[in-house]
Symmetry: C2
Subunit: 432 residues, 2 copies
């Protein structure tokens, strides 16, 4: 592969994006199939590159939990291959007719889904993410600029080279995929607003905010994940216990873990059992003095100030507060939350609907763990990221979030002058 | 009404936006009805304010065509009232269930449309636009910050006061609508990214670009409208003539007017009749030397350079060039166009589909005038703007473009731990 600057590569991708969009579903699926076969055929090469990354990581004494993520072995390979197989079976996200309207005799308007074009994805050090993201982009007819975490750069390169070769040899245009690496490349990518249609950064708050503040390219993603669970006055204690412990502790590093527990002031009896369940699970409690007063002296909770309720711990720690009712709960969540995912625990359906209407988040839940907010658990096959923005895709973003639409108008010599002069009139008839 | 700074007002609107979103369809329609009745009841007040604007405008010797737009009389009042009546009859854009999936026994995921929240619309000096935009926002449950052209500021104020009073007296929250005025207000609005979810600027390229470059709020709109018409080798001459004259001359100031005519090099016979038809309609021709060589010496076309093909004239002038085929036409359009609306004239259906696939624009047309790109002509009732971006709404934006969606997950004590441990499995069943 020739050496291109990021800008040159992005320019070529933009020029090639209509060709990528024009590939038939059969073609895109057959490219995915060859990508899978190439990964299996060249696995030794890939594992060798991964060993290099793991050795480097050991030198910098990276914790075991992270090491597990960096590793790319036979099991992970089979997992990503199964993912590609599943993706092949998914319905085509392109060419869906969303609107089919006869404006007037012989003048037909169709709204049809199509790829976004060129997408830049910046993701964490997880080799499987590179495979997932490139396959999602191939399936959805998008060109993709990929930047993975530096801790797996040898694996990334090996995986990318295999995927790129298989894709291009099987009919994808040369600009279908491009891999970049390092801060300078990312900064150059941020200036490519003429060629790149969308950026999807994943990673730390600071990193995502940096991206959002330093580019004119639309950015889809989330900086914070301050999720809430609210135990309403009609909450069932056993359900509440089970849900809050799962939502807080099942995987604390995830953006969909609950960071704040709100409890109805009418249910002070819930405070001690819920906080005891959390404490027993190893969670540190930070709460208002009102909550603290309901706990035994030696409970060991820490006091916190109102203005700290926007804290994302990503750790075994939770903020706790009493609220008057569902309205105050929603207000608190809309003020201090990050519009990600928030849950009410209640046996009252009407209160649940009020909460789910008032809370301005991508996900509003009733009686279940906030940890469910995930593309796989929603049945999207895979996700390319989670969006807390309200423009375009919201929540977990799968194939559908990688598409847009275009209007196609079919006429037969129709001109606007005839309608402006009243010689003709629109009749707006839905077809099909 | 109390005096609030733009930021204070935006903050209140953000806080009130869940209340606005929670209004039932009946409520929103009854608010629209009272707005209409109030406009009719207070019309003398409004006309008086408009006379003031018109007198000011006369002093600055504004051209007749613009004066017509500033005027708000009985006829325009009846037009906007008819528009409100039509809006009332339209289907509710909110609460539409886009996905209804059982993830597992008793765990149901729904994706439901909802308002975006707080929208800032900056529009040209046309009093009817203020009424249309505020009614669209009320129907779609959004709070709106409105900034109209300064040439109609007295009319804007009179209209706004009537609309605001009617809306709030009939159940809209205090933060439903807010009017701002002047550059300082706009600049303050641009810094309200915490409170404003979307900006829709309408107006000159320079103005829209200024907005896009000076805010962190997502912006929906279009800076340029460089639309193309391509006469293919299989074009019908009579259709081509009729369409290109309409597309260029029917209303030159509109963003959907054609600015460039591309002609297939295999159909040099089209050049003289098409350019003669345009010239006869009063259009000045700017073309490449290759085109010029096909014209009589005294035709009066002006030569132009390749790098000027991105020109938006908004005037009786057109750029003309020959291209090899539909592929070169699409390449030219994707390179020099603004992704707005582009048309092919051909009797060959396959060529038309190729063009409509390859051209990366919000609207791709076959055998009709680019001037059709408009919310009213698409049957959307009204439009709040036209988007050339590919994220969120694309093309003319009506009610639907003012909505987003949220995921609602209904459980009964469901936790992720059970699925992670393999004690439970998702079964993904589509409901309804």
């Amino acid at each position: 592969m020739e050496t291109l600057s990021v800008k040159e590569a992005a320019k070529r991708m933009k020029a090639d994006s209509p060709k990528m969009a024009a590939l038939s579903l059969e073609k895109r699926n057959s490219i995915l199939k060859s990508v899978k076969e190439a990964l299996l055929a060249d696995k030794e090469e890939i594992f060798k590159a991964n060993l290099k990354d793991l050795e480097e990581a050991k030198k910098s004494s990276i914790p075991d939990s992270v090491m597990k993520r960096l590793k790319f072995d036979e099991k992970k390979l089979l997992d990503v291959c199964a993912g590609i197989d599943q993706l092949i079976t998914l319905q085509d996200p392109l060419g869906k007719v969303q609107l089919n309207r006869e404006l007037d005799e012989g003048l037909v308007l169709k709204r049809v889904t199509c790829p976004i074009g060129v997408i830049g994805v910046i993701f964490e050090a997880r080799p499987d993410a590179l495979v997932q993201i490139s396959s999602l982009c191939i399936k959805s007819g998008n060109c993709a600029v990929l930047k993975g975490g530096k801790e797996t750069q040898n694996t990334n390169k090996a995986l990318f080279d295999v995927i790129y070769k298989a894709a291009v040899e099987n009919g994808a245009p040369a600009g279908a995929l491009f891999r970049i690496e390092g801060h300078a490349d990312v900064n150059e990518l941020l200036t490519c607003e003429k060629y790149v249609d969308l950026l999807i950064p994943r990673g730390s708050n600071a990193f995502v905010s940096y991206i959002m503040n330093n580019t004119k390219i639309p950015v889809m993603g989330h900086a914070d994940g301050v999720c809430h669970t609210y135990a309403d006055k009609d909450a069932d204690l056993e359900k509440a216990k089970k849900i809050i412990v799962d939502a807080k502790t099942q995987y604390t590093a995830a953006c969909n873990a609950t960071e704040t527990l709100l409890i109805s002031r009418e249910r002070k009896d819930l405070v001690l059992p819920l906080l005891t369940a959390l404490k027993d699970a190893g969670v540190k409690i930070r709460c208002t003095s009102e909550v603290n007063a309901l706990l035994p002296k030696d409970f060991g909770a820490e006091l916190m100030e109102e203005d700290k309720f926007n804290t994302e711990y990503l750790d075994m720690c939770i903020s706790v507060k009493l609220v008057a009712d569902v309205y105050e709960a929603a207000d608190h969540i809309n003020t201090y939350g990050s519009h990600h995912t928030d849950c009410i625990i209640t046996e009252n359906d009407e209160t649940a609907e009020t909460f789910m209407m008032l809370v301005d988040s991508a996900g509003t839940y009733k009686n279940c763990s906030t940890r469910f907010a995930d593309g796989f658990r929603y049945g999207f096959g895979a996700e390319v990221g989670i969006s807390t923005g309200k423009i375009h895709a919201r929540g977990p973003v799968g194939l559908e979030g990688l598409t847009t639409y275009k209007y196609k108008l079919y006429g037969n010599g129709h001109i606007v002058g005839d309608y402006a002069a009243g010689r003709k009139e629109f009749h707006f008839k839905e077809l099909e």
